[in-house]
C-alpha cells in the first residue's frame, strides 16, 4: 500500500514578473511505514510539496493520493476533515496555542476530533508521557524549552494515531541535542506504530535518521536515496 502518491505535480508562483516553479512535474510515491526526508536548498519546493500532500494547498496540475484516495480535488471542508483525522502535522517552532497548557493543547485537538470527553484526559497524559514530557503536562508553551514544545506538537499530531505525519522543518529552532531527541522519537513512533513520516528539512542531522532521502532542486526531484537507519 502506498501512503502517499504524487503524480506530475506542478505549482507556479509569480514573483514580480518572474514565474517560479515551486513544483515542476514532480512525481513521488511513499510506501506505508516510510520515513522520508525531503531535502533541498532553501526555496527548493519542500514546503510546497508538503502542503500539497497535506491538502493545505492545491497544486496547479497533477494528482495527490493519500492511502489510495485522491485528495487534490476535495473541497476545503473535506480537506480539513482529512487533516483532522488522518494526518498529523508538525511545523517549525511556535505551533502551539500559547494560552493552553501542554495537556490542553493535546486535548483541544482531540475535542475537535470528537474524542469522548472521558477519554481525552487520560489519552493526553499517556501521549505526553510517550513523548517524554511526564511532569510538564500543566506547563504553558512559554514555560517550556523549544524541544519540549516540539514534543507537545508531536504528541498533538500523533495522539489520534494518524497513519501519516508531515513535519516541516521540525528541528529548525532546536539545538543539535534536542534535534536528536526529537528524531529519535520520530524513529521510535515509526518503528512501533508504523506511522509514515514525511519530513522536510535541510538539516544534515535529520537526514541521518531517515530511511529514504529525496533531494529536490527547483521543484524537481534530483536524487532519491534509500539508506539504512543510522
Amino acid at each position: 500500500m502506498t501512503a502517499v502518491r504524487c503524480v506530475d505535480l506542478c505549482k507556479t508562483y509569480r514573483q514580480g514578473d518572474q514565474d517560479i516553479k515551486a513544483l515542476d512535474h514532480l512525481s513521488l510515491e511513499i510506501g506505508e511505514g516510510g520515513f522520508v526526508c525531503l531535502s533541498s536548498p532553501s526555496g527548493g519546493g519542500k514546503t510546497t510539496l508538503l502542503n500539497a500532500i497535506g491538502g493545505l494547498d492545491k497544486p496547479d496540475q497533477g494528482e495527490v493520493y493519500i492511502a489510495g484516495q485522491r485528495i487534490d480535488n476535495l473541497s476545503k471542508g473535506e480537506l480539513a476533515e482529512l487533516r483532522l483525522r488522518r494526518i498529523g502535522f508538525v511545523f517549525q517552532a511556535y505551533n502551539l496555542i500559547p494560552v493552553l497548557t501542554a495537556r490542553e493543547n493535546v486535548e483541544f485537538v482531540m475535542q475537535v476530533q470528537g474524542v469522548p470527553a472521558a477519554d481525552r484526559g487520560r489519552k493526553a497524559l499517556d501521549i505526553l508521557a510517550e513523548v517524554g514530557l511526564e511532569g510538564l503536562e500543566d506547563r504553558r508553551p512559554a514555560e517550556m524549552s523549544g524541544g519540549q514544545q516540539q514534543r507537545v506538537a508531536v504528541a498533538r499530531a500523533i495522539v489520534s494515531r494518524p497513519a501519516l505525519v508531515l513535519a516541516d522543518e521540525p528541528t529548525a529552532n532546536l539545538d543539535s541535542k534536542t534535534s536528536d531527541g526529537l528524531m529519535e522519537l520520530f524513529t521510535e513512533l515509526n518503528e512501533h506504530h508504523g506511522t509514515t513520516f514525511v519530513i522536510a528539512s535541510h538539516d544534515q542531522r535529520v537526514m541521518g535518521y531517515a530511511k529514504r532521502i529525496v533531494r529536490m532542486l527547483d521543484g524537481r526531484i534530483v536524487d532519491d536515496i534509500q539508506q539504512d537507519a543510522a
Binding site: F89, F91, L100, E104, V109, V112
Partner: protein, 409 residues
C-alpha cells in the same frame, strides 16, 4: 470548565488592558442606559400621573359622542347617583361627577370665553389636584353656593380677586338662555397655562340649576390607585354602568392624546441617543476583535492546518465577545442597578428643580425607578450589537488561507 470556554476566557486576557477598555466601554454604556431608561420611565410615570391627577383622571364615563363634540346635550343622566354608585360598588373614594360647558365670563371691566365645570366639592379633591393649588381664598365647599374658583391667569385677565363678582352667560341643556352671578371664592395656579387661563369651577348643584341639567352631568371621573391598574378598573367600571343607558368609558389616552404623543416624541429622541451610544460600543468591540483576530493570524493558520474549520474559529471569536459582553452586562447591571436604585430611594434634584416643583405641585425630587426592563433592556441591546460587531471579524476567518496565515509574522 469546558476546554473551549477556558480557551476563550484565556484569550481575552492575553491583552488585559484592551479587554478591560472594551469591557469598560460596555459597562459605562450599560450603567448610563440603565440610569437613563429608569429615569425616563420614572419621569413618564410622573408626567402621566401629574397631568392626569391635575384634572383629567385615569378615565371618564361619558356619553359616546361627547369626547369629539362637547355639546351640553350629550349628557350622563343622574350623574351624581352614578358616581355615588360607582364609589360604593368599587369601594373607592377617587370617583367624582362633573358637568361642563362654555360660557362668557364678565367682570365689571372685561369679558372672556371660558370652560366652566360643575364639580362635587366633597369629592373633587380626590380626583384633581386643582383644589390643592388654591393660592388665594379657598376651594368650593357648599354644593349649591353661588361661588366660583378660577385660574390665576383668568383672574388677572378679568382683573378680579377673591370676593369679586362674575357674571356667567351661556345656554342651558335645552338651548335656552342661562345666566348666573357668582362670587370668586378662590384662585388656583396649576402651572399649566391653558388651565390657568380658561378653566373655572362651580359647585355641581349650582351648575345643574343654572344650566337646566335636570340632574345630569357630562362626566364621572374615575382614578385608579395606580396607572398600571387603570385597565382592570376600566373593565370593572364598564361592567357597572347602568344597562340600557348609552354610556362609554374613555381611557386617559383618549382623553389626553397629547400626553402620549409627547412621551413618544421624547422616547424617540432618547432612543436615538441610546442608539448612537450602542453603535459607539459596537465599533469599539469591532476594533478590539478585529485586532485580536489579526494578531492571531499565524496561530489560526496553524490550527486550521491541523483541521479546524474557519467556522469553529469564528465561533471562538464570538464566544470571546460574548464573554466580554456578559462581563459588561453583569458589571453594568450591578453598578447601574445599585446607583439607580440608590437614587431611586433617596431621590435627586438639580439646581432650580425644587423651586419649579413646588410651584407646579410636583415632587421636589426625581426618583428613577429600576425595573427589570430598565435594568436589562439596555445591556441586552449592547450585548446584541457587540455580537453583531464581532460577526465581521469572525466571518473574515473564512477568507484566511492556512498556508498564507502561517507565513504571517
Amino acid at each position: 470548565m469546558n476546554l473551549v470556554l477556558r480557551l476563550a476566557w484565556r484569550n481575552l486576557w492575553r491583552q488585559p488592558r484592551r479587554t478591560w477598555l472594551t469591557t469598560g466601554a460596555m459597562v459605562f454604556s450599560n450603567v448610563l442606559l440603565i440610569f437613563m431608561i429608569s429615569l425616563q420611565f420614572g419621569m413618564y410615570r410622573l408626567m402621566i400621573d401629574n397631568s392626569l391627577q391635575a384634572f383629567t383622571g385615569h378615565m371618564q364615563v361619558q356619553a359616546p359622542g361627547y369626547i369629539d363634540d362637547q355639546k351640553i346635550r350629550q349628557t350622563v343622566p343622574n350623574v351624581r347617583q352614578l358616581a355615588a354608585a360607582l364609589r360604593q360598588e368599587l369601594g373607592s373614594e377617587t370617583i367624582a361627577a362633573r358637568a361642563s360647558t362654555f360660557v362668557l365670563a364678565s367682570s365689571e371691566e372685561r369679558t372672556y370665553g371660558i370652560a366652566v365645570y360643575g364639580i362635587e366639592p366633597q369629592f373633587e379633591p380626590q380626583v384633581s389636584s386643582i383644589p390643592g393649588l388654591i393660592t388665594a381664598g379657598r376651594f368650593l365647599d357648599a354644593d349649591d353656593a353661588a361661588e366660583i374658583v378660577i385660574g390665576s391667569v383668568l383672574a388677572r385677565n378679568l382683573r378680579v380677586s377673591v370676593g369679586d363678582e362674575l357674571t356667567l352667560l351661556g345656554s342651558g341643556k335645552d338651548g335656552s338662555f342661562a345666566a348666573a352671578v357668582v362670587t370668586v371664592a378662590g384662585i388656583f395656579e396649576s402651572g399649566v397655562p391653558d388651565i390657568d387661563r380658561s378653566v373655572a369651577e362651580l359647585p355641581l348643584g349650582l351648575f345643574q340649576d343654572v344650566f337646566y341639567m335636570e340632574g345630569s352631568g357630562h362626566q364621572v371621573v374615575v382614578n385608579a390607585p395606580r396607572l398600571s391598574e387603570a385597565d382592570t378598573l376600566q373593565s370593572e367600571v364598564e361592567a357597572l354602568l347602568p344597562p340600557g343607558q348609552d354610556l362609554v368609558v374613555q381611557d386617559w389616552d383618549a382623553l389626553q392624546p397629547g400626553l402620549k404623543q409627547a412621551i413618544q416624541a421624547d422616547m424617540s429622541s432618547a432612543f436615538f441617543m441610546y442608539g448612537i451610544l450602542v453603535i459607539l460600543v459596537a465599533f469599539s468591540v469591532l476594533n478590539t476583535q478585529l485586532m485580536s483576530v489579526l494578531e492571531r493570524t499565524r496561530e489560526f493558520g496553524i490550527v486550521m492546518a491541523l483541521g479546524l474549520t474557519p467556522g469553529r474559529l469564528g465561533r471562538l471569536v464570538l464566544l470571546e465577545t460574548a464573554m466580554m459582553g456578559l462581563m459588561g452586562v453583569a458589571l453594568g447591571a450591578l453598578l447601574g442597578g445599585a446607583l439607580t436604585w440608590w437614587l431611586g430611594v433617596h431621590g435627586f434634584s438639580y439646581p432650580g428643580m425644587e423651586e419649579m416643583a413646588t410651584k407646579f405641585n410636583l415632587p421636589a425630587r426625581m426618583y428613577p425607578r429600576v425595573t427589570l426592563t430598565s435594568l436589562l433592556a439596555g445591556p441586552a441591546v449592547v450585548m446584541l450589537f457587540s455580537l453583531l460587531a464581532a460577526l465581521y471579524p469572525a466571518l473574515r476567518l473564512h477568507r484566511l488561507h492556512p498556508v498564507e496565515a502561517m507565513r504571517a509574522a
